[in-house]
């Protein structure tokens, strides 16, 4: 083994020995993998398990609420008895009472049965809940003998607490006290959602008005806002009717008025009429009344809770329809042309009602203008909806989205991506939609799709603040590229070696060679993600994009960036587009005709995607092939092996950004030090420093010290905590608790020269900042470097890592895409979070919004290929012609400028996009302060040096 690159070489090879033993443990142990039961009939597997830390956190949170019955097992089956052997890393979990994968009778995806958290530790039989949906099927009978009949989750809240009565008769009244705080309405966590009003914002109750719009309507609880007062109290059930607030009768007509009368934080008494106890447990209503400790995203991935999420966007018009253009007129049936449709809400029903428009236009306009129809814009009431079309064969896919979510400029990209994802997953649209069995899976697919576009915040509650950046998500996901993280060369080499080792399929005693068998699968390549960043890729570009589209669609990348994934195993047949389409590009060589499988394994922050080929030179796959344990275990072993490098990668993530970034707020001349900007800034710093690993709080201290009054006022407490975190950083700089002591020592040692400066360096930076000619705190002028490096060296490093010209660093943000390799780089989430500020997040949002239009212009000037392979007629001489570069100058002002006497200070910055064709095709988007004129080509050139693969 050749891991002796780093200074003390022993550690890695020792670790490797460890890992070889892990391999053998994995391979020889007769332990049955825990995902085995989740494999579906067709061989697909989607298994997601949260890490122990998450479970404990969830339990603790739940225990704090003291409502034990709110922990619903996310399992559709009956109880599983699970014990655990908890021995450090090689912990395995095994189900002793494995259920045969049930509920396939009604075609439900196995996703529903994946949940494994929220069980109480060492509690042999968690209570049996769930069920309900799979009444039929072969397993039903077997279960019936052992488990209680399926009951609605909603309704088995025991009335054990004083003051709560959940009567068994119909239409009983109950009283619930909740604590409301109108003052908190302005907070970012409770957006006054459109339509929901105070009922949703203040009380946390989702009520969906019926379409009839009768003026007085009973207030039926249709759902809860996560973490809202209603959800937290745990006593209000879905289906209840809110009758009175503090003895004032309420209806839909007066509820807003009544609630608006609540002046300040207070407790109010709600009178509720509970719905009938039995007979109302329709599957669609099966939602949980507890506040979810797990993010909605995970629950959605598990297949839980789609109804509530879908209901909360029921008023937003959106639809996906697959229509047949060839109608059999001999047997006219109602709605015969609709092969698939999602969702079934009222707003989408209206869109469904006018499908005749889509069909007619699609048919007619091609003859009129000579091009296929791309989009239509419709007005539903006051709401503008864009409808995107995709015609293929005799079928038409129609996707309607509200205009405020997806601008028309980018609709085509969104539709193109959906189509490509579907094709990767099912081979063709035809196969995807015309197979009846696929319907539940497609429902889940489109549920994810619409949720991500329409209410991304809801999905990622508790996640980073950048989630609010809808344009950013649209833009970055729409790029035909994957976010790349540049790594130090030695780590990079190790990662590559480990991946190559795996891809050689030399599994020793476990390989098929050993037994003289033909290989089951040929490993075409793999790619490795760490916390949503791609860190190594051995896949061809198009395959990488296919894999990435799948990961994006199922939100796997953000999932892995939080400390959430205990284990993720995904296996499915895929149809890589490049391989499917290229019939004979190179004469004399044709790609072998085989079937392809995608294996994704995630462990903590690492995620590896492997593309396998069966057929060709491996043995052909027949029927529906499930995941092979050996391959899964090998990937797992690879990931375990890579975990040693986690510390190094974390260090890279914690390193000061290269190139240096500036925060927009630094460029706004602060009128008074007590301006709202600064207090906000300090608050943001506090928040961010606790959320990220405590490696570097230098920025935080700097930002805090930049406001002299503040540091005078509370230097006592704040200063100490800062110093505390500083000293902590020098001892354990972002090490994961899982890494071995050896590597910890080594990395700690390596960082000593830098790290020791962590505490006294902060003092230095504070002093530095008092020098009056330094107008802005420059992130690169770290005290640590000042101490350890000579002035000249520091100056040199400063120059090499600064992208902009001129004396000061004026760079705010950038995105550089390498078209050939299909990757892009941008400042990491952590780098952005470190800059904090109040204007800066706005600026980044604006940057991304602008990039949408810039990129749309670039795409239209490119010869059509790639994402949408169509013969776009290129009318020379029309239009503006191919655009090479585009720039927009923006002006921003601080929010809430209250000072009437002085005009608000302003700051202007450029957002520039540049498309380069030479020497390598690149797209470069940059955002910088307007004080220095920049040549984007040069900046892209300088930046691309950091992108050597």
């Amino acid at each position: 083994m050749m891991f002796n690159v780093s200074a003390d070489g022993g550690s890695f090879s020792e670790n490797l020995d460890d890992f070889d033993s892990i391999r053998s443990v994995l391979l020889y142990s007769d332990l049955e993998p825990e995902w085995l039961d989740d494999i579906q009939k067709n061989g697909e597997l989607f298994y997601l398990e949260l890490s122990d830390g998450e479970e404990e956190a969830a339990l603790a949170q739940a225990a704090g609420q003291g409502v034990s019955t709110n922990h619903v097992r996310f399992s559709e089956e009956t109880a599983e008895v699970i014990t655990e052997q908890n021995n450090s890393k090689k912990k395995k979990k095994k189900k002793k009472n494995p259920q045969p994968c049930g509920s396939q009778g009604n075609g439900e995806p196995t996703l529903k049965r994946l949940a494994r958290i929220l069980r109480r530790k060492r509690r042999p039989s968690p209570q049996r809940e769930g069920g309900g949906r799979d009444g039929d099927g072969k397993d039903g009978g077997k279960d019936a003998s052992t488990s209680s009949p399926p009951a609605s989750i909603l309704k088995n809240q025991p009335g054990q607490r004083p003051g709560v009565t959940v009567p068994q008769q119909q239409q009983q009244l109950k009283e619930v006290c909740v604590y409301l705080n109108p003052k908190r309405l302005g907070g970012p966590s409770t957006p006054l959602s459109q339509g929901g009003g105070l009922l949703e914002a203040l009380l946390g109750v989702v009520h969906r008005a019926s379409w009839s719009r009768s003026r007085e309507e009973r207030l039926t609880v249709c759902g809860f806002v996560p973490n809202g007062p209603a959800a937290k109290c745990g006593q209000i059930l879905i289906g209840d009717v809110l009758v009175a607030v503090d003895d004032v009768d309420v209806t839909s007509e007066n509820i807003e008025r009544v609630l608006s009368c609540i002046p300040g934080p207070t407790q109010v008494r709600l009178t509720l009429e509970t719905a009938p106890q039995v007979g109302d447990a329709s599957p669609g209503r099966r939602t949980k009344a507890s506040s979810p400790p797990v993010s909605q995203l995970v629950r959605l991935l598990w297949g839980e809770d789609t109804a509530e999420l879908q209901m909360s966007i029921g008023h937003v018009p959106h639809i996906a329809m697959f229509l047949s253009l060839k109608l059999d007129s001999a047997s006219p049936q109602e709605e015969e042309e609709i092969l698939y449709q999602y969702p079934a809400s009222e707003a989408s029903g209206q869109l469904k009602g006018v499908r005749g428009i889509f069909l007619t236009l699609c048919d007619m306009l091609e003859n009129v203008t000579g091009g296929r129809i791309l989009s239509s814009s419709l007005l539903l009431g006051k709401r503008l909806v864009h409808v995107g079309y995709w015609k293929e064969g005799g079928y038409l896919l129609v996707i309607g989205l509200p205009a405020d979510r997806v601008p028309l400029l980018y609709l085509q990209t969104v539709v193109g991506d959906v189509v490509r994802t579907l094709k990767v997953m099912y081979g063709s649209l035809d196969k995807a939609f015309r197979d009846e069995d696929h319907a539940p899976r497609l429902d889940h697919f489109f549920c994810l799709f619409f949720q991500q576009l329409i209410q991304p915040l809801r999905l990622r509650d508790g996640a980073s603040a950048t989630a609010a950046d809808v344009s950013g998500t649209l833009f970055l996901d729409g790029l035909p590229a994957v976010r790349w993280l540049t790594l130090p060369p030695e780590i990079k080499m190790e990662v590559e070696t480990v991946l190559s080792d795996f891809e050689s399929s030399d599994f020793g005693e476990m390989s098929e060679d050993f037994f003289g068998l033909r290989r089951l699968y040929l490993i075409l390549g793999s790619c490795l993600f760490y916390k949503s960043y791609l860190i190594a890729n051995h896949l061809p570009k198009e395959d990488l994009l296919d894999v990435c589209l799948y990961c994006q669609h199922y939100c796997l990348l953000p999932l892995a960036s939080e400390q959430r994934v205990g284990q993720l195993v995904i296996w499915r047949e895929v149809f890589p587009q490049q391989r499917a389409n290229s019939s004979s590009t190179t004469p004399g060589y044709s790609l072998p005709e085989g079937r392809h499988f995608l294996l994704i394994v995630g462990l903590r922050h690492f995620m590896q995607c492997v593309l396998l080929e069966a057929g060709g030179c491996a043995s052909p796959a027949l029927g529906s092939t499930g995941p092979d344990c050996v391959y899964v275990d090998q990937v797992k072993a690879t990931l375990l092996q890579l975990e040693v490098l986690e510390a190094g990668i974390e260090e890279r993530l914690n390193a000061p950004p290269t190139p240096c970034l500036s925060c927009a707020d630094w460029f706004l001349p602060a009128a008074s030090s007590a301006s709202p900007v600064f207090s906000k800034l300090a608050g943001a710093v506090k928040g961010s420093s606790s959320s990220r690993s405590r490696g570097r709080s230098l920025f935080g201290e700097k930002a805090r010290r930049s406001s002299p009054q503040r540091s005078l006022a509370d230097s006592g407490s704040d200063g100490q905590t800062d110093a505390g975190s500083g000293s902590f950083s020098s001892t354990a700089p972002g090490l994961s608790p899982h890494s071995t002591p050896d590597s910890a020592r080594k990395l700690g040692g390596r960082r000593d020269s830098l790290g020791s400066g962590g505490s006294d360096g902060s003092g230095g930076s504070g002093g530095l900042f008092k020098i009056p000619r330094m107008k802005h705190p420059n992130p690169f002028y770290l005290g640590t470097l000042k101490k350890t490096l000579t002035e000249r060296e520091a100056e040199e490093m400063y120059n090499t890592t600064k992208l902009t010209s001129g004396a000061e660093n004026t760079l705010f943000h950038y995105v550089l895409m390498e078209t050939v390799q299909g990757i892009f780089i941008a400042p990491t989430h952590r780098e952005v979070a470190q800059l904090s500020g109040s204007i800066h997040p706005q600026l980044i949002r604006n940057f991304h919004h602008c990039c949408l239009s810039i990129r749309a212009a670039f795409q239209q000037s490119l010869p059509a290929k790639g994402r949408r392979p169509v013969d776009r007629p290129r009318g020379g001489g029309w239009g503006l012609g191919p655009v090479k570069e585009q720039g927009v100058l923006f002006q921003c002002k601080p929010e809430n400028w209250t000072d009437q006497r002085k005009p608000a200070p302003t700051m202007t910055y450029w957002v520039i996009g540049r498309m380069l064709l030479e020497p390598v095709p690149q797209e470069f988007y940059v955002c910088f302060h307007d004080s220095v004129a920049e040549v984007p080509v040069e900046m892209a050139f300088r930046l691309s040096f950091g992108l050597a693969l």
């Binding site: 209206q350 006018v354 203008t369 000037s861 007629p873 009318g875 239009g879 191919p882 720039g887």
Partner: protein, 433 residues
Amino acid sequence: MMMLQHGSTQLLCLTASSGVPLFTRGASKQLPFSVIGSLNGVHMFGAGQGVELSCCETEGGGKVVWRVFQDSVMLIAVSGGGRGGAGVGKAEELRLRRLLENAWSCMVLVLGQDELTDVRNVERLKRDLRSCFTLVDQLLEDRQEGILGNLTHCVDSLLPPDPTILQEAVDGFAQAAESEFGCLLVRGRVASATEKWWRLAPQEVVLLSALMRTLSASGSASCDYPVFLPKGSPTVAHRLLRFQLLPGADVCVLCGPTPSLHKAESRLVGAFWTPLAETLRGCLAIGEQCLPGSVSLRPDLLAVLLINRETRRSVSLVRPSTAHPLGDSPSKARCWELLRLFYVFSTTHYFTQEETSSASPEERPQRGHNEDFVLGFSHQPLQCYLVTDECKSFGLQTPQHQLFLLVPPSVPSFALRTLATQTLSDIVAATGF
């Protein structure tokens, strides 16, 4: 095969209630009746279901835009594809929307609103509508060099070398003709007008200018033409008296029953305008530069469009290509085209469009569609530029002005901003525009 040629636009007009075709203009070959019927049919079907179809895009930049005016007339604009390139989708949509608005205004201008909203005899309406074909055709062609008002809804103006003399003459002439609305057009652009004339809705002034151009193109020395003002008086007609002073220079007044055309022509025109013949010749000599000689523009400007956002006037010019010894600069016609496209691109993507102050409430949501993207910006866009193979374009927005420039590709990008601010201050300082 396709029914509409690349780059051509067809305007369809039908009655909104019954779908009877009233007229079809534009494009050499008329769309078959079945297609017209279907285009109208889908919109009607949607309206019945509570869904209003607003526009459609096809590959290659083809567009269809629908709009119903006053619940009585349905206008549909269909443009063929073939216009590849940046920002075409949005730009084309704006162009077609403006076309529909202008076409409707034309019909009101000529026939009055009552006749259009209260249709008793469709055949008669069809016949009457023929009288606005010349005007509608002019809108459809929209290729008249130097006239951007149809798109910008700002009045194309010409800044004469000595504005005060002309101003006095126009004021005096209008007063003598018992009118408060008088205007002098030089080469199709407003050189001078009475104060009340500027108070008319910008859209009306643009339309009246267009009408004057068609009237003067007919070659008559004077005419008396009844007009309805689409915003000001859509139901009561006024008389538009137009007199040709010199070839390319026309004066007009909007007036009541008196004076008669003959009286005005014989007594007033000569009295007021004969002494100013030389001044008028001076204006005509400026030609399409629109700016007096006192303004010195940098030699490397290909084209300029300057809009005053308060007075809603615009000045536009394209330099004769002889000024650029380098052979790579685009032709004059292409420059106009590029300027037009860049204006639309900037306003649909970054800058706010000029609001028509008189926009009726029903029009507002329509306008809102175009700006949904612009409204998504959390910060205010001030300037923007585009670099293409043919030229570089720069746009700049201040509270009072919008300036759009084209320069040859050889000019470095970082110099654009200085060039633009300097040009703006030069023009404003010299003319007070």
